[in-house]
């Protein structure tokens, strides 16, 4: 066994001022008319920042690639407080199909204003529409280019092209192998664990909603495999919203994936017992955090990510107020990773049907459960982030809409939209099979659809947020 905390090399731009000003200006343009003072001030701010760069370099290129924003080839590293700004810009680039946005040195205030209002107010978001709008309005000093086609650029295949489902099922397979390996010889090969957890991070970064939807597949395999995979996905999603860099997300994902590793050593009779546990059984169950530490300590190389996994394996049942288990004497706080994993773990646990309870919480109740424990069991910031990430009706929630339609929440609300207005897949009533965005408004600005009831289907809490069709691709 040796300790080898890893090092990373990155080249990142720390200053996100321009991007922040850009997104603020976009938000203002969505709300106010061009002659409004707030819009004028926001535009002036962007223009000043742009001109400062343009004066020095002649042109500014803003690229979106690998789920990062690059300004003049330097990657923008977003801190927690800047994360939403960068994410909004990434979403904007995705929506319009923009790969590169270039501002040229002769950019005028009028051109910038026109461009902002195109982005803010146009109904049709396609790259072709944007190009044609720029042409029609004679905006010569702003250029847009689509993302490069990876296949035409020399590489044999696109980067990390695996599908969310493949990644999800691979996680379950790898956990199954892990389970067998631990039982047979007690040794864990972390290489495959790293591969799949790194793949989970890549998937969450590129397609967060698909991965979140897959966490609602809860009843099709051994609980521990599904649960560990789900907690890994939920944790990475939360970590992403905290602006954690990719390397740390990798560590978080591995730690979350292995958080319940110690349960492998808990008797299966206890794990699946269809009733309350007696004192001895509880004692055995409460040993699983310590079991996880012992299992992971058998590794030859205690890399930084394994150390994180050991810490979170031990801490994930210690509450924010230090109650819970194992009882600790010296610790005065729980690490951030463990606080994140704790929230993800409890949410997935309470919303998963288990043999020992007749009724499972709906995801919406799961959110209320987290809110009720905020500040005592859970870190309040992580709970808020959880709601920001999952919405008040997380994926899998079965909602009754108006006109007796029933649908499953498929993805959380997009950033900037109300937390109670997700995208819903209709499973009953008229328009069955259609997707309904609860944040859509009519011409008068009223919401077209509204959630009126939360159902608990067969008391198992939720419905899968993916359809069989989704799993055929």
């Amino acid at each position: 066994m040796s300790l080898s905390p890893g090092l990373t090399a990155t080249s990142d731009r720390q200053d996100g001022g321009l991007v922040a000003a850009f997104t603020v200006c976009l938000g203002t343009a969505q709300l106010y008319e061009p002659d409004n003072a707030a819009t004028g001030a926001a535009l002036a701010d962007v223009l000043t920042k742009l001109h400062r760069h343009l004066f020095e370099f002649g042109a500014i290129h803003i690229d979106s690639r690998n789920r990062s924003i690059y300004v003049d080839d330097e990657r923008l590293r977003a801190s927690a407080s800047e994360y939403h700004t960068v994410r909004r810009l990434l979403t904007l680039f995705d929506d319009w199909g923009i790969g590169t946005l270039t501002f040229l040195s002769d950019l005028t205030a009028a051109e910038l204003s026109e461009f902002m209002y195109i982005l803010a107010r146009s109904r049709l978001h396609t790259f072709a529409a944007l190009e044609s709008a720029l042409r029609e309005r004679h905006i010569a000093n702003i250029e847009v280019a689509p993302p490069p086609d990876e296949m035409t650029m020399g590489a044999e295949a696109p980067l990390r092209s695996h599908s969310p489902l493949r990644t999800y099922s691979s996680c379950i397979d790898v956990y199954r192998e892990l389970h067998t390996a631990v039982i047979q010889h007690g040794h864990i090969q972390t290489r495959r664990l790293r591969r799949v957890t790194q793949a989970v991070v890549d998937q969450v970064l590129t397609d967060e909603f698909s991965m979140l939807a897959l966490t609602t597949l809860k009843e099709f395999d051994d609980y521990l495999f599904n649960h560990s995979t789900n907690v890994a996905i939920l944790s990475v999603a939360l970590g992403q919203h905290l602006g954690l860099p990719k390397t740390q997300l990798g560590e978080l994902c591995l730690a979350a994936f292995l958080h319940d590793l110690g349960k492998i050593e808990v008797s299966r009779d206890i794990l699946v017992k269809p009733g309350p546990l007696d004192k001895r059984e509880w004692e055995e169950m409460r040993r699983h955090p310590v079991n996880a530490v012992h299992l992971l300590l058998s590794q030859h190389n205690l890399s930084r990510s394994i150390l994180r996994a050991i810490i979170s394996g031990f801490e994930h049942h210690i509450n924010y107020d230090m109650s819970g288990y194992p009882h600790v004497r010296f610790m005065t706080g729980v690490t951030l990773f463990s606080r994140i994993i704790c929230v993800a773990d409890r949410f997935d646990a309470v919303t998963t049907a288990r043999s020992y309870r007749d009724r499972t919480m709906t995801p919406h109740e799961g959110v209320h459960y987290l809110m009720a424990g905020s500040g005592t069991d859970f870190d309040p910031l992580v709970v808020k982030l959880f709601i920001d990430t999952m919405g008040l009706f997380p994926p899998g929630t079965l909602l009754g809409l108006d006109e007796s339609r029933i649908g499953v929440v498929r993805r959380p609300p997009l950033p900037g939209t109300p937390a109670d207005r997700p995208l819903v897949y209709l499973v009953k009533g008229s328009d069955e099979g259609a997707l309904v965005d609860l944040s859509d408004r009519d011409d008068q600005g009223r919401y077209r659809h509204t959630a009126r009831l939360v159902y608990n289907p067969d008391n198992r809490g939720l419905m899968p947020a993916v359809t069989p069709l989704d799993l055929t691709g």
Partner: protein, 530 residues
């Protein structure tokens, strides 16, 4: 980078050249894509690197781990190039149970380097497992039951959405305020290092009453952790960790033996060697930290440190060990065997340690060592004798006044002054009065005259007068001898010495006159003192 450390000039130059070349190419074409074949790297269809021996063939190592292409993009930074080269250089040394090139490259999170990895588990090369099929089958089943679902309402009334005022409900955007996130960023900056957290977890498990019969993994891991701090030169952290373990022992006395065994395991020669020798290498600024650690290790480290004292040829390492042993309660019994070491510097260091003990029982050992053929050893012995206050020590110092080496005689003269009831004054007077005295090195003359001034009384005044006064028909003695004699009179400070100094103040020799005035003032001060 396989053969040289990253900061070696050859490694630096190679990386610089590679980076410059890449930048030139990237300026022309925005990106460079290398396709990885089994035994070659291709650029635009042309092999640009190939090799036959698999273990040394970079292409093979990349191919084996599934890397199928590598793309460098414009904006590539030197530190990224260094990291890439470092990763590739270590590709064959990776523990394949834990890592491969794909996982290590991923962890670098390069901003301007992309790569494509073909992973049979995650991509199309391997048949999809049955898990995906199971997921689909289960999903079909659930959706097939949609019509028969028991749709119990899932919320207690107080949590249910208010269906009467849907459109008037406040719009909820992000619950997380910028202020929250800024506080979080501050908290993250203050969060302890992962190794500290790890140690805390291990400590919690170690003192857990129910873990008394557990495997030895935890003590072993704590030992490994402490060793890693030691190996990396993180001595301050190690000192805190040891402190923490000792505190832990206070609250769990039954664990003290186990904890001390863990701490004691650091004290082996092999473990301490790298740290001590490193003080004259990579850990050059860490001496105080290591000394703190070594002191915490206490007696368990003494044997190793004595051994290292014989090995360490750098001044920092030697000083750290000597300081530690000097302040850490080393015993004479541990030192004495090394006095017979054939290496002069080993004996010298032991003599130093004997001196730090300030213990009269060390005299027999010092007496043996003062006969050492190397003057550097004898010097240290004389220093050690100067720390003792015993008749036998004074006798040995008196003998050393006639040592063949001037440097030893100087130290003996300085040391003898502190011997209570020394009878060396007469001996010194004889030596000073000897014909060859003035021809001795300046430092020796000075030391002898100072000693004489401190130990002698009126009986020495006339001899000193002879030394400073001008000689009829003969060449004057060297100035340093004459000035030294005047200074010695100032130290004697008796009325007769003062009279002699009065005369010297009238000397036509400005140096004698100047020194005499100073010494006279000193003599009066001394005479006025109770």
């Amino acid at each position: 980078m396989r053969f040289y450390p990253p900061d070696h000039p050859l490694a630096t130059e190679s990386v610089d050249l590679l980076h410059r070349t890449a930048r030139v190419l990237l300026a022309e074409r925005q990106e460079i894509v290398l396709n990885v074949q089994e035994s070659s790297l291709d650029f635009e269809g042309i092999p640009v690197f190939s090799g036959d021996r698999p273990r040394e063939n970079l292409a093979f190592l990349m191919f084996r781990d599934g890397v199928r292409s590598l793309r460098l993009r414009s904006g590539l930074q030197r530190d990224e190039m260094v990291a890439l080269v470092k990763v590739l250089a270590q590709a064959d040394a990776l523990d394949r149970a834990e890592d491969d090139l794909a996982t290590v490259l991923w962890e670098q999170d390069f901003a301007h380097i992309d790569y494509y990895v073909l992973d049979p588990l995650l991509e199309g090369e391997e048949e999809e497992s049955t898990t995906a099929d199971d997921l689909r089958t289960g999903l079909f089943k659930v959706f097939g039951q949609t019509d028969t679902l028991d749709l119990a309402e899932g919320l207690p009334p107080e949590l249910a959405p208010d269906t009467t005022k849907q459109d008037e409900r406040p719009v909820i955007g992000s619950l997380t305020l910028t202020q929250d996130l800024e506080q979080f960023e501050q908290a993250m900056r203050a969060e302890p290092d992962v190794l500290d957290e790890f140690l805390l977890v291990l400590c919690e498990i170690l003192v857990d009453p129910s873990s008394s019969t557990e495997s030895p993994d935890v003590p072993r891991a704590i030992g490994e952790l402490l060793t890693s701090y030691l190996d990396r030169g993180e001595f301050d952290t190690l000192a805190s960790a040891i402190q923490r373990l000792r505190e832990l022992g206070q609250s769990a006395p039954d664990k003290v033996p186990a904890l001390e065994a863990i701490i004691g395991s650091l004290a082996s020669l092999e473990r301490l060697r790298r740290a001590v020798l490193g003080l004259d290498g990579p850990f050059v600024d860490q001496r105080a930290g290591l000394e703190a650690v070594l002191l915490q290790l206490g007696e368990s480290a003494h044997a190793s440190l004595l051994q290292l004292l014989a090995e360490a040829d750098g001044i920092n390492g030697r000083r750290a060990v000597l300081n530690t042993l000097a302040h850490g309660g080393i015993s004479m019994q541990q030192i004495v065997p090394y006095l017979s070491d054939p290496r002069w510097y080993v004996v010298r260091n032991m003599a130093y340690l004997l001196g730090t003990l300030r213990d009269d029982t060390t005299l027999p050992a010092l007496e043996r060592a003062i006969a050492h053929p190397d003057e550097r050893v004898r010097r240290e012995v004389v220093r050690a004798l100067g720390n003792l206050n015993e008749h036998q020590a004074a006798r040995l110092l008196e003998l050393a006044l006639s040592d063949p080496a001037s440097s030893v005689r100087v130290l003996a003269a300085r040391g003898i002054v502190w011997q209570k009831g020394s009878t060396a004054a007469a001996l010194l007077l004889g030596l000073v009065a000897a014909k060859d005295f003035a021809a001795r090195p300046e430092s020796e003359v000075q030391a002898f005259l100072e000693a004489l001034g401190d130990l002698a009384d009126d009986s020495a005044v006339s001899s000193l007068d002879v030394l400073w006064e001008p000689r009829l028909f003969l060449r004057r003695r060297p100035t340093h001898v004459r000035v030294g004699a005047v200074r010695a009179l100032g130290r004697i400070a008796t009325p007769r010495a003062r009279q002699s100094l009065e005369r010297a103040t009238r000397s036509s020799d400005s140096e004698i006159c100047g020194q005499a005035k100073k010494s006279l003032a000193e003599a009066y001060r001394k005479g006025a003192a109770p």
